[in-house]
């Protein structure tokens, strides 16, 4: 479904991603882990078509990824910037107009589940509530690929818990692929099917979480420790 063919990404002298070959299939929730600056956000942006590879190619269903792949990919940025003059409801309505696959009923369901007031202006939302809004906007799209860059970052445990539960509840695991980058491994471990480790721009391992657990009797954290130490 998603295929990286010998992909590198350089910014001037810094190499953010180096010679990455990767295949991801639909119907899975995949964790992307690594230290800060390892290349997780770069990987996400490459799949979203928001940056271009310096070398190699990224394909989605055999189609070369460009910015306009947004019709098939829902991208949650690590940034919190939204149009501050809109209310929560207006932001949802605006997204619904921009993406034909946006399910407004689902958005309303997730909004109610997340307990987010529809009439609050985005500029008045707390960081936690902006995080919830991002989840609503991302999960309400009925697209094959959901990319979530640090959806749990900087949020308190209750918000993180509601987001993880929201993922289980609102993602169609038959049809959608979720790629999730996070440092909160413990909180997402139970929902991950696969995990990918990136270190210094290189893909160091790509494992099935269940196999890791049964074959090597390792949790993701232990597995990460063995890679990074």
């Amino acid at each position: 479904m998603i295929e990286f063919k010998n992909v590198s990404k350089r910014y001037m002298t810094k190499t953010a991603l180096r010679d990455v070959d990767l295949k991801l299939d639909k119907g899975k929730i995949i964790g992307l882990v690594g230290l800060n600056g390892a290349g997780k956000s770069t990987t996400m942006k490459l799949i979203a078509g928001l940056i271009n590879p310096s070398k190699g190619s990224v394909e989605l269903d055999g189609e070369k990824v460009t910015r306009r792949i947004a019709s098939k990919v829902s991208y949650l940025s690590e940034l919190d910037e939204y149009y501050s003059f809109y209310t929560v409801q207006q932001t949802i309505d605006f997204f619904a107009t921009q993406f034909p696959d946006f399910n407004k009923e689902k958005a309303e369901e997730i909004r109610a589940y997340m307990n987010l007031d529809a009439n609050t202006k985005v500029k008045h939302l707390s960081k936690g509530n902006r995080g919830r809004l991002k989840i609503i906007l991302t999960l309400s799209r009925e697209v094959p690929v959901l990319l979530m860059d640090e959806p749990l970052s900087g949020l308190d445990p209750l918000v993180r818990d509601s987001i993880v539960k929201g993922l289980i509840t609102f993602v169609d695991t038959e049809k959608q692929l979720v790629l999730l980058s996070t440092h909160q491994i413990m909180e997402v471990e139970m929902i991950l099917d696969e995990v990918i480790a990136i270190k210094d721009g290189e893909l160091v391992d790509h494992r099935n979480v269940e196999e890791l657990r049964y074959d090597e009797q390792k949790g993701i954290l232990e597995w990460m420790s063995s890679i990074y130490e």
């Binding site: 928001l50 947004a70 940025s77 910037e81 149009y83």
Partner: protein, 261 residues
Amino acid sequence: MKAWLALVKKEFRIGLPIMLLAVVLFLVGLVIVTATTYKFGYAMDAVGIIGLAWGGGHFFFMAIYMLYSLGVERKRLHLWLHNPMHASGLLAAKLVTGTVYMIISLLIVSIAAYVGGLNFVPFSDGTWFKVGMIAFVHVVSLSIDFSIYVILAYIVFLLLVRYMPTFLSGAVVFIGWWLFAYLYFGLFSQSKFYAAITEWGKIDLGFIANSLQFDISTKEALINMQGEQLTVYAGYYIIELIIILIIYFIASWLLDKKVEV
């Protein structure tokens, strides 16, 4: 189309401060000038002068509008560019809203220019309308024309800023801008080749005032109108339209394919 119209609606909200600023600045200027000239009995002349000057200044309206609007998006490129719409559609939404706001602002200014101008410009109603329309259409179209060069410059800035500091990127674009202006307006548009491709389809506009000379003191206000028999070439407008469409295409292509978040 529904998606684009919703985008236009959003752009109206983003660009509103620029329209309000233009109108408020004009009204403040109008009040100050009227108050200071009222006791000398030239208040209406002053209203006309400030109306004409502010109206002419609308040449820069679209450029300022686009810089502001693109500046707002720069903080949330991940949001603006994560959209299946072609970049030309994203930019067109901004151009359309900016143009609507400019026309609203220019209409307000035109009322002042007309009401005040009646005092010192001895035109018949028909001539007022004709001159007013020509000036209005030219200010609007030249402002849009100029703003498309500004869009391209801003997109080049967005490209450069990925690889060098913001100040340096701005400086490179600024220098590039003046170099381009010199090559295009200083050399190319003065060349025989440019004249050959643009000077066709002559249109006679009749006598048009093209400058006013003001001599204002505390005792009197003298205003001399100067003008000439004006002719324009359809070729000039067609060629400029083609050039601006090419620039717009390049800007859209760069935004679609090269600008990174």
